[in-house]
């Protein structure tokens, strides 16, 4: 991913400079600024007496520099000789699609993760070829790589790519990262005719200050990025910055002392003395901004000559305030620069406010929201509170106007509607070409998807708000008549009924040969296939939320403000997680994460094993909608009228779409398209 910057430049000598640049970095073992004692300087006398011997990188082992670097300087042929070919699969999992960059130590590939067979999940695979001839050195190199990968895996920030995996195969190590759609800042500068607008660069500069502050504030020890330059800054498809290349390649060159040649135009003078503090990152950020504003590549200029070519002499459109910020960050003496990236950000914000760049940044973001145009929309005659089903190219959704609609998934064209005598607030189910859904007219309706005509109906004695669950030749559905009905799919008659004490709005879930269903009285029931009670669990208030299971546990929320994990086999509570308010939303699972909305307006992400909160995302009104996970995104509606798309691992907002009314149904995502109904009477199809 980060090797992309090398791509547009075809000249071989530039590649050689790049290699030299990497070599220079050797000197600075990344964490030399550690204060190891600081983090166990707790109140406990037990470990205050300990002296930790400093761990100096690259000193224990003398590497045979020539043997390692030899093939690199002729990098392109050795790398290409070993380069993976498209179609090759790594560790039975990562199917290589293309080379997206060539770095100093190997290539960067775009690959597809085959663990997600039904969707195309793209990842960036960064390769490091380990050419050390000595097995001990080779092993040390791999260990260094793994230690770096471990540290990176703990960094959670919107502007830092996620690490998914790392592994070593033969003489190569691989790091699997988030694939960033976009291009690097160097390519952006080179591909833009003329100068980039100031407000754009201020916006990026503020984001870069944010991510550097995050790294500098890392506990227990600050992380110094050391390698800020345009080719290490990706601009993604939303126009946001992502910082790439955290020096994994550099750890491969541990111990190559004395190979310091060349000039790295973005590094501050003190880095050549082996010092690196956060002030070094400030200088490099200044150099990066200077390059972006002037289009003058500092690698082609004499070292530390920024003062000789002030920004405004080359690009007069830049404000003098912005130029002053850049000059301060580029001071030769570190003490004269901004004391921290936070201070630099404050200065940039002040410039942005003064020049009006800030107001231009804000509308740009609203424009992004409004820019999301539905693929199609379809208007019904009343509110849509339920959720859609997709079956053979058609969308089926119920409406409060008593009709069930069949629409073409491709263009939203009306196909047929089927009238009932009550509102439809649930999600239909499909079996053998027939749709199953309940209505407030107390009936379970079975309708042919082909003709839209009724096949049979089943009467309960109360309104139906629960969605049907089809399993084991039966449709299981709850009703306001306080009964769970097990309806035989062939005969249309009840095989058995399980009577509870309260209306059932929750949708039954079938797993472990049990049917799980919650009631408005707060009781969770586990019922076997003969209709006998296996166990039950009492929550303090209504369980409207529909339960789900993984191998271990049954998960659901209650209006009592708790998210529950029960042992699915015997009903013992494994953990309880406090939400700020009650919830009628149904949880969704992905990996080890559980997601749910609540009336406090938040969408929560909770660790399944430890019940620790991973993140929460705040919307402007209660979240009754249930989250849907698709690829690496979470989709969920809110009563504030928006459909939100979040990155599910971080909770970061990707986009939101505003409908004209509350969204209480749950999104359906298929083939990169989201289908959602709103209380504004409309069904929308949006690009995921």
């Amino acid at each position: 991913m980060d090797g992309v910057g090398f791509l547009p430049i075809n000249y071989r000598w530039v590649l050689i400079i790049a290699v030299l640049v990497h070599l220079i970095c050797l000197f600075w073992g990344k964490y030399s600024s550690l204060n190891v004692q600081s983090y166990f300087n707790l109140q406990n006398p037990y470990w205050q007496t300990i002296i930790v011997r400093p761990v100096q990188r690259g000193q224990e082992i003398k590497l045979d520099t020539k043997n390692i670097t030899g093939p690199i300087s002729t990098g392109d042929d050795s790398a290409s000789r070993q380069q993976l070919q498209p179609g090759q699969t790594l560790v039975d999992r990562y199917n290589i699609q293309a080379v997206i960059g060539i770095g100093g130590m190997g290539s960067v590939y775009r690959a597809r993760d085959l663990h997600f067979p039904n969707v195309v999940k793209l990842v960036a695979v960064k390769e490091m070829i380990n050419l050390a001839p000595d097995p001990l050195i080779r092993q040390t190199i791999v260990q260094n790589f793994e230690r770096e990968a471990n540290l990176l895996a703990t960094l959670d920030h919107a502007s830092i790519p996620r690490i998914y995996d790392y592994f070593s195969v033969d003489n190569k190590s691989y790091l699997v990262l988030e694939f960033v759609h976009g291009k690097d800042l160097e390519a952006v500068i080179n591909d833009t005719p003329g100068f980039l607008p100031e407000h754009q660069i201020i916006n990026w500069a503020i984001q870069l200050c944010d991510v550097l502050s995050f790294l500098h504030a890392h506990k227990p020890d600050p992380i110094i990025f050391r390698d800020m330059k345009p080719s290490n800054v990706m601009i993604d498809h939303n126009g946001d910055v992502i910082l790439v290349d955290f020096g994994i390649a550099k750890t491969f060159q541990t111990g190559q002392k004395g190979t310091m040649i060349g000039t790295e135009g973005y590094s501050p003078p003190e880095q050549y003395r082996g010092e690196a503090t956060q002030l070094a990152d400030i200088y490099s950020l200044g150099a990066t901004l200077h390059h972006a504003l002037t289009r003058r590549d500092p690698r082609l200029e004499p070292p530390f000559s920024f003062a000789e070519r002030p920004v405004r002499r080359i690009n007069a459109a830049v404000s003098s305030e912005f130029e002053a910020v850049i000059n301060t960050s580029l001071m030769y003496n570190p003490a004269e620069r901004f004391p921290s990236t936070d201070a630099m950000k404050d200065a940039l914000m002040a410039v942005a406010r003064k020049t009006g760049a800030l107001s231009r940044i804000a509308p740009a973001m609203t424009a992004k929201i409004n820019a999301i145009k539905p693929l199609w929309s379809f208007k019904c005659e009343d509110e849509i509170r339920g959720s859609a089903l997709l079956y053979q190219g058609a969308i089926y959704i119920g409406c409060y106007d008593n009709n069930l609609y069949a629409l073409s998934a491709a263009d939203g064209e009306f196909q047929w509607k089927y009238p009932t005598d009550g509102g439809i607030v649930s999600r239909p189910a499909v079996y053998d070409g027939n749709l199953f859904f309940g209505s407030e007219d107390q009936r379970l309706h079975v309708v042919s998807t082909r003709s839209g005509k009724v096949v049979w109906t089943y009467f309960t004695e109360g309104k139906i708000r629960s969605s049907p669950r089809i399993a084991e030749g039966h449709a299981f559905i709850g009703s306001d008549d306080q009964t769970l009905h097990a309806v035989n799919l062939n005969s249309g008659r009840a095989s058995w009924k399980f009577v509870t004490d309260d209306p059932i709005h929750s949708t039954p879930h079938v797993a472990n040969e049990l049917v799980y269903v919650g009631t408005e009285g707060g009781m969770m029931h586990a019922i076997d296939f003969r209709g006998g009670l296996k166990w039950r669990f009492q929550a303090k208030r209504a369980i409207t939320s529909s339960p789900i299971t993984n191998k271990q546990a049954l998960f659901f929320a209650s209006v009592d403000g708790t998210l529950y994990a029960l042992d699915a086999k015997n009903g013992w509570a494994i953990w309880r997680f406090r939400l700020d308010k009650g919830s009628v939303s149904s949880p969704a699972l992905a990996e080890e994460f559980l997601f749910i909305g609540a009336a406090d307006g938040c969408i929560y992400c909770v660790d399944v094993r430890s019940s620790k909160e991973i993140w929460r995302f705040r919307t402007d009104n209660q979240v009754s909608s249930s989250p849907t996970i698709y690829k690496d995104s979470l989709y969920c509606g809110s009563v504030d009228g928006f459909l939100y798309c979040l990155e599910y691992r971080s909770g970061r907002l990707r986009w939101k779409f505003q409908s004209e009314g509350p969204i209480t149904g749950s999104p359906l995502v298929f083939d990169d398209i989201v289908y959602i109904g709103s209380a504004d009477h409309q069904v929308y199809a949006l690009f995921a």
């Binding site: 190891v36 930790v52 033969d170």
Partner: protein, 301 residues
């Protein structure tokens, strides 16, 4: 690091050609027969079986380790509830109250947990309780922490406790005793993460594995029951390894016997108490520098 290793197991070494050809990881005959052997012994009723072992070691004068193993089986028309509580605690070396702390911790925790569960397990009619297992075990650690602070001031202890109910293990963990899942195919996977200085440095990338192995302060804990104002145990719930074993042990075992030998000692024994004795002997054979405690649990049926 261990957790990451677990999440991203090292891939098999393979040539690119075979990597392309095969999709599913093939098992060796040995692995297959090991798995088959274990599944062939069939028990109709789910139950926990346990073994335990302890030794003062070869170089210490006091035993500062404590362990507790409690297994209960209830089966009948109200269902089948295997229940077990297994705790290993290692009193902090050099503290005069080390042995008091570990002993108190296992008893206080077990008493607390049993009082909470008693009404639900050992009375009729039985029904699931409201408080969650994670809350109960978490509170039991806090209770032990308070007790050690008031009754053995200055003392500290590790605690690794497994509450097994049905087919789930709820673990509470503080310090550098460890819980492992051991599988019939030879995998010995740590479930817990040490709260030790050396582990912390390793995770932060200050030490590589060789440096960590030779680190002079390997026994320094950064979290212990009885130490500090607040205690925050790691609490997780995971499925019981089936087929396989749950093992809890003090650093007197894992510090000197490697994973391979641990597996060997368990696989070669005909019973769990024998396996525990084998493990203790292996640790003593390796010098026995510290007290050794081990509990092995299997869920059969």
């Amino acid at each position: 690091m261990d957790i990451l290793r677990k999440l991203f197991p090292k891939p098999r070494r393979s040539t690119p050609a075979s990597a392309e050809a095969s999709v599913t990881a093939p098992l060796t005959d040995q692995q297959i027969s090991a798995i088959m052997k274990d599944t062939s012994s069939h028990f109709e009723m789910k139950q926990l079986v346990v073994g335990a072992g302890q030794s003062i070691g070869k170089q210490r004068e006091h035993n500062e380790d404590s362990l507790l193993a409690l297994t209960s089986t209830i089966s009948g028309n109200s269902g089948n509830v295997p229940f077990g509580l297994y705790i290993v605690a290692d009193g902090m070396g050099g503290h005069q109250y080390g042995e008091v702390a570990s002993n108190a911790a296992v008893r206080i925790m077990a008493g607390f947990i049993l009082r909470k569960l008693h009404a639900y397990l050992y009375s009729v009619p039985s029904q699931p309780m409201q408080e969650s297992l994670q809350e109960v075990i978490q509170s039991s650690v806090v209770e032990a922490h308070r007790f050690v602070q008031s009754e053995a001031p200055g003392g500290g202890t590790t605690v690794t406790a497994a509450l097994v109910l049905g087919e789930q293990i709820t673990l509470a963990h503080v310090g550098d005793s460890r819980a492992y899942s051991i599988y019939p195919d030879g995998r010995v996977e740590p479930i817990t993460r040490d709260h030790s200085l050396v582990k912390r440095l390793e995770e932060l990338g200050h030490l590589n594995r060789d440096e960590a192995a030779n680190f002079p302060h390997r026994n320094v804990l950064i979290r212990a029951v009885g130490q500090g104002d607040v205690i925050e145990p790691d609490v997780v719930t995971i499925p019981f390894p089936q087929p396989g074993y749950l093992m809890i042990c003090s650093d007197g075992l894992w510090g000197v016997v490697n994973d391979k030998d641990i597996y060997r000692a368990v696989a070669d024994a005909h019973s769990l108490p024998r396996a525990c004795q084998n493990l203790v002997e292996a640790a003593n054979a390796a010098g026995g520098p510290d007290n050794i405690s081990v509990v092995l649990v299997q869920l059969i049926g």
